[in-house]
Amino acid sequence: MDFSSIVVQFLNGLAGASSLFLVAAGLSLIFGVTRVVNFAHGSFYMLGLFLAYSLAGRFGGTPTGFWISLLVSALVVGVVGALVEIVILRRTYRSPELFQLLATFAVVLVIKDVALAIWGADSLLGRRAPGLSGSFQFFGKVIPAYDLVLIAAGPVVLGLLWLIVRRTRFGRLVRAATQDREMVGALGVNEAWLFTGVFFLGSFLAGLGGAIVLPREPANLSLDIAVIADAFVVVVVGGMGSLPGAYLAALLIAEVKALCIAIGDVSMFGYTVSFSRLTLVVEFVVMAVVLVVRPYGLLGRPSATPRAQVAIMAASRPPRGRWILLVIAVLAVAPLLIDRYSIVLLNDVLVFALFAASLHFFMGTGGMISFGHAAYFGIGAYAAALLLKRAGLQMEVALTLAPVAGGIAALFFGWFCVRLSGVYLAMLTLAFAQIAWSIAYQWDALTGGSNGMVGVWPAAWLADKAAFYWLTLGVTVVGVLWLWRMASSPFGYGLRAGRDSPLRAEALGIDVRRQQWFTFGVVGAVAAAAGALYAFSKGSISPDVMGIQRSVDALVMVLLGGVHSLVGPLVGAAVLTWLQDEIIRDTEYWRGLLGLAILALVLLLPQGLAGARDLWRRKPA
């Protein structure tokens, strides 16, 4: 590592920061005004890049054509964002909060498959900018000329946005609505159009962020999730609602990443640490550190901290005992009546029901949101596999110890997380989940890296699918009943008190933070048990078991089933698992279909599946 390579990487970081900033600024604006955590924001970025690929490919032969192509791509994405707001989100604002989250997940799935249909599954590298395709020498290193454009783009857009927000009426309305949108409405401003306008601007920025990296980054279908994770990190590190903060955070993260690449491999005490491979983890480490030191981000302020709270519900009771027994009895005899394939599917349903129940406890009773619940599921799966394969323990022992590992890991993550609340807490859980994922993905020697581990089979007496199913049923029943029981124990009441009114609960002598911390441990252990069962039922695992997609699946299950019902997550898990299995078999476009199915449910049943029952029982209020 020498001086020139550091400078080159520094410039590289500056160039990378711009695109990241554009995406994050859009996300931050949208969240500030509408309180929608827009998971589809990464998809808008991806769409911008794909559109730019096609448009610039056709019209980008001249400089004018090229730049107009990028701009038009961003504008089209802005229109798509506005349409998503008008057609879908506008109908969900009166639903429980977080339902919009579910809707935006669905949009992610739909956009992914639309992109797959139009552009295919391969990575596409776009046309270079005419006139800027060269490079220049800098201390003997080559720097692409286009990077200079990128370096300038961030501050320029920041300046323009600052002007819009400070000097126009639209900007003043945006700032006012970020603080108190109801009052803005009472002053005669039609919030619906303000929201649409903000969605247009935010999506435009995401699309532009994607379009401008055309000559630098290949377009591919995995960008949506990768970029949304990055954008969350930037927004949270910078401070929700602060545009300069978002730029600062984008810069910090891009530079730290670039620095890691510049440092490369370093040998210390006989170990070689590969910093360049740490780039996947490093931004999340930055985020964890910043949030512990400054809980509201670098430039965020507590007063401007909107809290996404789970809109909750009268305390729901478990179903009657005889119904529970009936369901267990039916599930217990099921393997005798159905084929092998169905037993495996039903086993999956049970595993995910347990997993979803743990997230439901975290959200419904604990009042916290987790965007990274797959971490505990995955840690359970990996703990089981590692104890079996690397430590040579018996399968029964590995299965018993996996929840302990999950619980300990969750307590470790939770220690940091409970210092925050609302969306910040949720995003920190995502950060930890990504750290866990990156470790599993990169530690080849221990975890098998991206290939994962194979031969994770259960003991001989459980080799039969039906036998293993009964084990899963037993663990799931015990786990779910334990969670239900805990929800109506003194601990559960204390948690609910802390959830509904933290200050009053504290005044009653309840240590809310400590209780939330304990909740992490509980749900971590339960989710890890589900993960261990999953590992043994499949016989192999890969880092996917703790990928963002699985965390999203868990959220979809809980939200689909209805947060306000204890049975909800179980129903949600069954429906989603069955839907996935059903659609995957028939079509390549299962994600898009799944997304459309979720959208239909969101629009038709705004209280979730289990809420449909209530709707049927009593007249709508």
Binding site: R172, M183, G185, A186, L187, G188, N190, A304
Partner: protein, 233 residues
């Protein structure tokens, strides 16, 4: 101008307003007077559409305004100044006024920043100060000024004198009387009988979500029984 009939509002199981009726005529200042928790703020919010009414009819200048979204109610000419003021703390005084700005649908004198500064001279001196840096009295003035910028014909003032120093209360009363002279109708809620006497023509006494008494201020002043039953602490 404004007529409310048979208004019922519930929060969950609790009845907040029952069979509430009131009327504001053009050019009148009417006070809704009652103790804490009597339902004054809820009445205001229900008129604005900020809380849903279970039953009842609210008409404004012939339009049925129940079931309208708050922005639509505001656009018809009802200006709302909430009890807790709800100033946009990050925005400057001038920017707060700009958020409230709205061209009137009908004819009438237009409110401009200069005109509201003439009404509240204190604000004129701090046009670029952030809303969050103002004192309670200044915030109350700004809240009223911001609403005036929407050129309302009826002003809903929720406890404008609450928590203000006596000198500021006098100024506030002066401002309300000025607005009345300019033809604005006002419905205000109050706990403070003294303040009500300064500005109002008529009064409704509200208790536990019901109107218990209505009459002119002079009649109310003469009726010790009503005052003792519903207003004394």
């Amino acid at each position: 101008m404004l007529s409310v009939r048979n208004l019922e509002v519930d929060y969950g199981q609790a009845h907040i307003l029952s069979n509430l009726a009131l009327e504001v005529l053009s050019g009148e200042v009417v006070v809704l007077i009652g103790r804490n928790g009597a339902g004054k703020s809820t009445t205001m919010k229900a008129i604005m559409g900020l809380v849903p009414a279970r039953a009842g009819e609210i008409r404004f200048q012939g339009h049925k305004v129940d079931h309208l979204r708050p922005y639509a109610v505001a656009r018809l000419g009802i200006g709302y100044v909430p009890e807790d003021r709800r100033i946009f703390t990050d925005l400057s005084v001038r920017e707060n006024l700009d958020v409230g700005r709205r061209t009137p649908s009908g004819a009438g004198a237009l409110w401009t920043p200069d005109r509201v500064f003439a009404l509240f001279p204190n604000l004129a001196e701090m046009q670029d100060r952030a809303g969050g840096m103002l004192s309670g009295g200044e915030q109350q003035m700004l809240a009223i000024a911001r609403t005036l910028m929407g050129n309302p014909t009826l002003l809903l003032l929720d406890e404008p004198s609450e928590g203000l120093a006596p000198l500021i209360v006098e100024q506030m009363a002066e401002a309300i009387l000025t607005l009345k002279r300019q033809g604005l109708s006002v419905l205000l809620s109050e706990q403070n009988l003294h303040f009500a006497h300064l500005v109002a023509d008529r009064a409704y006494v509200i208790e536990k979500g019901r109107i218990r008494y209505s009459g002119t201020m002079a009649e109310l002043a003469a009726d010790k029984e009503v005052r003792d039953a519903y207003l004394s602490l």
